[in-house]
């Protein structure tokens, strides 16, 4: 099945990593993998606790839940930023120092968050929804809540530096961000087929996630002021809007950064051109707008919201599916269909990522309907759909890059035949347990469950254990591959 692939097309010379770059990439990748496994173990702890297979006191459960949410969202952002950096640096000159600074700030922020949760006992959830952080009922201190928010701020500053550097570098090459997005070709003109998809996607992410992070920074500073000056009261609805704008944007940015791996790598394994098109440019331009204005679909049950915003939340949720179903996933399938695909590990992971994204947004879009949301909001339907496109969508995108980078340095090919199917099977069991429980009205974020919900919890725990087993093998393979001397690796790949 696996024909020999031409080295030059699989590993272009301009993707080779210098010694310094390799150190930074290794730090990012190894840290992300280790944290993923740890956060998955926290997730398993929650599912075991809900299953009554493990005794988890409620205060510990909610601390674990807070760490799991913040850790997973942050780490998937960190890992997918490697995808964007790895490919974007071929087209524009990115600063390695700023990329390294992002890593350092992330680690400092992560330490602050872990200290807040596991030493300060902070359990206000990753969404830190005002005014819960200052209403702990004695479970955590105000300082612990402030430390959690400080951790977020540090991480946000790191990402903002990364995006500002990316935007500056893009402007230096393409003149302005609009030209980088290809807006000049939306309504006509001959499209420059060499214009990189990576530049379009990176520009979109840099613009939108900078706005999202700034919204997050505003709300974090407002909350910090409120912590130490309680007389400065905040409007709970305004804070909720800003919080969900930030949260929605940040997690979606990880998908948009991760999908760059599909654009760059899939055609190398299919051997078929994957050219830029007007539909592609329209999909990214429209996604830029939609991802910023769709967040009210998180607030459909806040009836005091202006109703036009709730209508917008529903309608834009539907519209946001169009670029996925008719351009990105459709384009990927077209690229693979009757191509003579070479099914190496990165190619398999990329195909899985497209499936996870497309299938996962089906329950998400349906839940974006106000009359459905009234029945499904904050049930396990919600973790069902977001785990679908994160666990089976975005994570495979970043794993694909990691497997691609290690190339022939992977210690064995066992993953291809055993671990990969295990990951898919475990992942499907895990997410369908959530979805099935959600349709039975099982609430999310409950430390203790009613007896009729336990079967789903146990199914979820088994699925989680299978996924973690597969993820451990992936982690060992990738870490060993990365740490092997570049001299033993692919001849065209590593330099220095």
């Amino acid at each position: 099945m696996s024909a020999t692939l031409p080295v030059d097309s699989l590993y272009p010379a301009n993707e080779a990593l210098s010694r310094a770059e390799r150190i930074v990439v290794n730090l990012y990748v190894i840290s992300a993998l280790v944290v993923f496994v740890l956060m998955m173990l926290l997730g398993l702890t929650m599912r075991m606790g809900q299953s009554t297979w493990l005794e988890v006191p409620p205060d510990v459960f909610y601390q674990v839940m807070t760490a799991h949410g913040a850790g997973m969202v942050g780490t998937i952002g960190l890992a997918s930023s490697v995808v964007m950096w790895f490919f974007l640096r071929k087209y524009v000159r990115l600063s390695l120092s700023i990329f390294a600074a992002n890593y350092a700030l992330f680690m400092l922020g992560a330490l602050a968050i872990l200290g807040s949760v596991f030493i300060g006992r902070y359990a206000g959830a990753w969404t830190f929804l005002y005014p819960l952080p200052v209403h702990s009922m004695g479970l955590w201190s105000l300082n612990a809540a402030a430390l959690f928010m400080l951790g977020y701020l540090l991480i946000g500053v790191g990402f903002l530096l990364f995006y500002l550097d990316a935007m500056l570098a893009i402007i230096r090459v393409y003149g302005n961000l609009g030209r980088a997005l290809g807006l000049q070709w939306l309504f006509g003109g001959e499209i420059d087929k060499s214009h990189p998809k990576t530049v379009v996607a990176s520009t979109m992410v840099a613009i939108t996630n900078s706005i999202g992070i700034l919204a997050g920074a505003v709300v974090l500073v407002m909350c910090l002021v409120n912590i130490y000056f309680p007389s400065v009261g905040l409007n709970a609805l305004l804070v909720k809007n800003l919080t969900f704008l930030f949260g929605h944007m940040f997690i979606n940015a990880s998908i948009y950064m991760g999908v760059i791996a599909v654009y760059e790598l899939l055609p190398r394994y299919s051997g078929r051109p994957y050219p830029i098109s007007r539909a592609f440019l329209w999909s990214w331009a429209s996604s830029l707008v939609m991802v910023l204005i769709v967040y009210p679909h998180h607030l459909l049950m806040d009836y005091v919201m202006p109703h036009w915003m709730l209508v917008m939340g529903q309608v834009i949720s539907y519209c946001a599916g169009l670029p996925v179903f008719t351009v990105t996933v459709y384009g990927a399938l077209t690229n693979v269909y009757r191509s003579g695909m070479r099914w190496r590990m990165p190619a398999k992971l990329l195909m899985l990522s497209m499936f996870g994204w497309a299938a996962g947004i089906v329950p998400a879009i349906i839940d974006g309907t106000i009359s459905v949301n009234r029945l499904m909001h904050n049930t396990q339907w919600v973790p069902g759909h977001f785990h679908f496109y994160l666990l089976l969508g975005v994570l495979p995108m970043v794993l694909a890059l990691m497997y691609h980078v290690i190339g022939e340095r992977a210690p064995s090919r066992a993953s291809d035949t055993l671990t990969f199917p295990l990951y898919i099977f475990g992942g499907l069991v895990f997410v369908f347990a959530f979805l099935a429980a959600g349709h039975m009205s099982t609430p999310r974020r409950f430390a203790a469950h009613l007896p009729q919900w336990l079967a789903y919890d146990r199914m979820g725990a088994i699925g989680a254990a299978l996924v973690i087993t597969a993820m451990l093998v992936f982690t060992v393979q990738i870490v060993v591959g990365l740490l092997r001397s570049p001299g033993n690796g692919h001849p065209a790949h590593a330099v220095g």
Binding site: A125, L129, M137, M301, G321, R338, M354, S441
Partner: protein
């Protein structure tokens, strides 16, 4: 079939279709064909696929938004049974504990401290409706119960360490049985 089961079936059908598309493409990935011809055919199909999705989305949006599924927030209903509901860590305070079936109910829902979720579970332990309870705001939830029985309110917005225990109950009685409590 209740609404959640319909949503479940629709979701399974949607995911099933996506799965079939992937299986078809993967099964045919290994037989090389002319790229230009494949892309030409795919792009021709895509126009119709795009049109079908737009029409389906527009139809569903119209059908589910008209009439608008959320009641007027500015006015107190003159005909409904009124229930004032206040959430606080970690209990619900309801102004009535018995309601009549077949007569609209207006829940005026707010919070005394943090955000809560006011979710009403029916006698079959499935959600019948919900709304958020937010400090400083009152959300008006309009609902007409059709089935008598014991209903339970659970908090569906995480609100701290005893969030899962924040519950209340009320009874819905047939219209001709009901008296105010």
């Amino acid at each position: 079939m209740i609404a959640q089961d319909k949503v479940w079936m629709l979701t399974l059908a949607g995911i099933g279709l996506v799965t079939l598309a992937f299986i078809y493409v993967i099964a045919n990935a290994g037989k090389p064909a002319d790229s230009a011809q494949v892309q030409k055919s795919a792009y021709a199909i895509r126009r119709w696929w795009f049109l079908a999705l737009v029409l389906a989305g527009a139809g569903v949006a119209y059908a589910t938004l008209k009439p608008f599924p959320i009641g007027d927030q500015s006015a107190q209903s003159q005909t409904a049974q009124i229930v004032d509901a206040v959430g606080r860590q970690w209990s619900w305070q309801l102004s009535r504990s018995q309601l009549k079936a077949g007569v609209p109910v207006q829940f005026n829902v707010t919070s005394a401290d943090v955000n809560h979720g006011f979710a009403i579970y029916g006698p079959n332990d499935r959600i019948v409706t919900q709304v958020q309870a937010m400090p400083g705001f009152t959300n008006r939830l309009l609902y007409t119960f059709t089935e008598p029985g014991k209903y339970r309110v659970l908090c569906l917005e995480y609100c701290g360490v005893a969030h899962h225990g924040m519950a209340a109950e009320f009874d819905v009685v047939a219209a001709d049985d009901g008296g105010r409590k």
